[in-house]
């Protein structure tokens, strides 16, 4: 313990002393030693694959020698990107997750916010229980959750469907119109607790004095929640929104599992599924181009959202 504490202090000292020592000498060595555990994997498993994918996306396959001739790759400019943008399946998948995101993200975050605010009120009993219960789905691996839900959706297996049929409804959770929302429901179930916890921990950090001051001024619990708590935790709400936008664009697990029992989820249902399907057909260059486009869209949307909201919220 002491050792770690000392080292911690030294790092601070080193950073603080950078202007005096100009980075040279044994302290630079220390910095490098501390950074390597992060930077080496970061370069190897993050930057290199990205660079490799970008490189692949500018290649096209050529072949010599007929039916089973030898293939080789050569520079093809933006050929793969042109094909991505001409692919209707690509636009369909973008449209699908766009719809998914516009509905699912606000619903999930609103529910998470309400739950976080409820947990933060003195009115609620059994707080620890509710906190754990709400967070529990996040502890379930996504694939397991999707399999579990797929059994609840299947008319052959589901007690839910049986009950709904008994009261005269004809639910078709896996039908062509409903299956997107069935997938959205799995995502919501999985991630609401996680987002709630981020918002809840932000609420916990608000000093009690603010509430006392508000109470003295005659603010109701309702007013405290909406006029004090929510504006203060706005950065957390923005953060969870950005995470959710990224998660939506990368949607893969839930629909891929539901696809096992419903043919209404196509092999190109989401952009990531499309990239996977294209790669499994040996067209790695096209798959790389799709991946790069998804990455750029994700980057633009998440940073765009952050800039937009930070200006509005004056953060």
């Amino acid at each position: 313990m002491t050792d770690i504490a000392t080292r911690g202090t030294r790092v601070v000292a080193t950073t603080g002393g950078r202007s005096r020592h100009n980075g040279g000498g044994p302290r630079a060595g220390t910095i490098i030693a501390f950074l390597i555990p992060f930077f080496l994997p970061f370069v190897l498993f993050y930057l290199v694959p990205i660079a490799y994918a970008i490189g692949q996306s500018f290649l096209v396959v050529r072949r010599t020698g007929g039916q089973y001739g030898t293939s080789y790759t050569t520079f093809g400019g933006f050929d793969q990107y042109v094909q991505v943008f001409q692919n209707t399946e690509f636009w369909n998948s973008i449209g699908r997750i766009g719809l998914f995101g516009i509905v699912q993200v606000p619903v999930m975050l609103f529910v998470a916010l309400i739950m976080a605010l409820l947990l933060d009120t003195p009115l609620l009993k059994l707080k620890a229980f509710f906190r754990i219960a709400a967070f529990m789905p996040y502890a379930v691996p996504g694939v397991i959750a999707a399999i579990m839900w797929s059994f609840l959706y299947s008319p052959q297996l589901s007690p839910v469907v049986d009950v709904l049929k008994a009261i005269g409804l004809q639910p078709d959770f896996l039908g062509p119109g409903a299956v997107l929302w069935s997938a959205a429901n799995v995502s919501t179930w999985l991630w609401t607790g996680y987002n709630m916890l981020i918002m809840f921990s932000a609420l916990q950090a608000i000093p009690q004095e603010l509430y006392e001051a508000a109470k003295l001024d005659g603010a109701s619990n309702w007013a405290i929640a909406w006029k004090i708590k929510v504006p203060i935790i706005a950065p957390s709400i923005i953060l969870t929104t950005v995470f959710s936008i990224i998660g939506t664009l990368q949607l893969y697990g839930e629909p891929a599992v539901l696809r096992q029992i419903s043919s209404n989820i196509s092999s190109t249902f989401t952009p990531n599924m499309l990239a996977y399907a294209v790669a499994s057909g040996n067209n790695y260059q096209q798959a790389a181009a799709i991946s790069v486009v998804i990455a750029v869209v994700t980057f633009v949307l998440s940073f765009g959202f952050m800039r937009l909201t930070s200006k509005r919220a004056g953060l």
């Binding site: 692949q56 050529r62 293939s71 029992i261 043919s263 092999s267 499994s280 057909g281």
Partner: protein
């Protein structure tokens, strides 16, 4: 693998990754020069000087015991196997890319042209035993593994001759005859539906292109041909449309279910609840029903697949080969093992018992296990039905070089049609277009039609 080896390999990966950053600008592979572009000659077939260890990757349950039997009797040719059922073609594809392919790997018939297009195989025809093996296998299997006798790239292992599984108790209850043709089958479907709207004759799984392809194969719907240095894509043909339109009629009349995925828990639940009366399946399916629906023992019978008119033709669904992989420098030993693995009665019997394989070797039908009645099926000699089916499979059926992509496109479009958006026949148009597009992407010369 020892720790040292792991560490060396890791270090190598780091170096390679570093090199790949430096070389990213020039990461395209160079065009082969004129000589290299010519068809690679068959590799030499010399026995090795010392002991040899072969790598063999497969997905067959119980194959470790078969390999152990070989290893016990062949100390000089040891085989190490790896089960790759988690991601068969992903694992093989990655190993090929890394230049670390095993000597032998299990490859489905429909993936052979695809992998050969990726230069995945070596030609073992320099080995006399390899070319001589032709007579030991069912003709269509050899036709596909030798690519029409242009080399020996794999030995056939098992097949999936198709037949009709029938719930004889349901048929008896509704006073139905066993259908001999697809027309009779459709008539029976109507009668079952009229008698009980919750009872369907079978299900149509749009996400099972392999099964649908088996139906196409039965109707002589050749999907591909090769002549004049070009692939000829005929996925959309009169024969394939006939199959699509037949099932479209059954779907439109709600005589078949479209909500069940093959092999899924809901599918077994539907059979368990007596909602489905037949199953259009392959030989390997016999153990699926036996193992998943033990309560229905004695209620099933297996009869020949319904035919198109007077043609006796049947279809094949699935089955695999054991391919000679690129970089194999022990062809002599590989042929010896591969030949034993897929023609020796003791090996075939074990594979049938443990893995449920229906052998591609003609000697397979003489196996005692395949000559006996099967208790689950009322002690009927069900393998006689599959043997007859096997004899009636068109030998010239050819798979395409981008079959996986075509199958996905076919499935997506069949699913749309099954959900009411378009017709099944439109899926053939979509699959035809996907075939041409994917071949163009891979720079494979192709034209539409004959």
């Amino acid at each position: 693998m020892s720790n040292t080896a792991t560490r060396i390999r890791l270090a190598g990966a780091v170096v390679a990754a570093a090199a790949s950053i430096a070389g990213l600008a020039a990461c395209s592979s160079p065009a082969p020069s004129g000589d290299a572009a010519a068809a690679a000659p068959a590799a030499a077939c010399e026995p090795a000087k010392g002991n040899v260890t072969l790598q063999y990757w497969n997905t067959v349950p119980g194959m470790d015991q078969v390999v152990a039997l070989w290893n016990k009797n062949n100390p000089n040719i040891q085989v190490e196997m790896k089960n790759i059922s988690n991601d068969q073609y992903g694992t093989i594809g990655n190993a090929l890319k890394a230049g670390k392919a095993p000597e032998l790997a299990q490859v489905g018939y429909d993936e052979l042209p695809d992998l050969r297009t990726q230069n995945a195989f070596v030609d073992a025809s320099a080995c006399a035993d390899a070319t001589a093996a032709k007579s030991k296998f069912v003709p269509w299997t050899w036709s596909q593994t030798s690519f029409g006798d242009t080399g020996v790239f794999a030995f056939p292992q098992d097949t999936g001759p198709m037949a009709l599984y029938v719930r004889s108790d349901i048929f008896k209850k509704h006073d139905l005859e066993i259908p001999k043709t697809w027309d009779e089958y459709a008539a029976d479907a109507q009668k079952l539906h009229d008698a009980d709207p919750n009872l369907s004759i079978t299900f149509f799984d749009p996400n099972n292109a392999e099964w649908f392809n088996g139906l196409l194969w039965q109707n002589n719907a050749e999907m591909y041909g090769y002549s004049g240095d070009k692939w000829h894509v005929t996925v959309e043909s009169d024969q394939s449309k006939q199959v699509a339109e037949y099932w479209q009629k059954l779907i439109d009349a709600k005589l078949v279910r479209t909500d069940l995925a093959h092999g899924s828990t809901p599918m077994y639940a539907a059979y368990q609840k007596n909602q489905i009366a037949t199953y259009v399946g392959a030989a390997w399916g016999y153990s699926m029903f036996r193992d998943n629906l033990p309560d229905q023992s004695g209620k099933w019978t297996i009869v020949p697949m319904p035919t198109w008119g007077s043609s006796a033709a049947s279809g094949d669904w699935g089955g695999s080969t054991v391919a000679f992989m690129k970089g194999n420098t022990h062809l002599y030993e590989s042929v010896k093992f591969n030949s034993w693995l897929n023609t020796d009665p003791e090996a075939l019997a074990l594979e049938n018992k443990l893995g449920g394989l229906y052998p591609a070797a003609t000697a397979g039908s003489a196996l005692p296990a395949l000559a006996e009645g099967v208790p689950y099926y009322n002690n009927e000699k069900i393998f006689d039905v599959f043997a007859d089916s096997s004899k009636n499979i068109d030998t010239s059926f050819t798979w395409g070089p981008t079959q996986k992509t075509v199958n996905l496109a076919l499935q997506d479009a069949l699913a749309k049609a099954a959900a009411g958006d378009g017709k099944l026949a439109d899926a053939l148009t979509a699959a035809q277009a996907a075939a041409l597009k994917s071949m163009q992407d891979q720079a494979i010369p192709a034209v539409a039609g004959n």
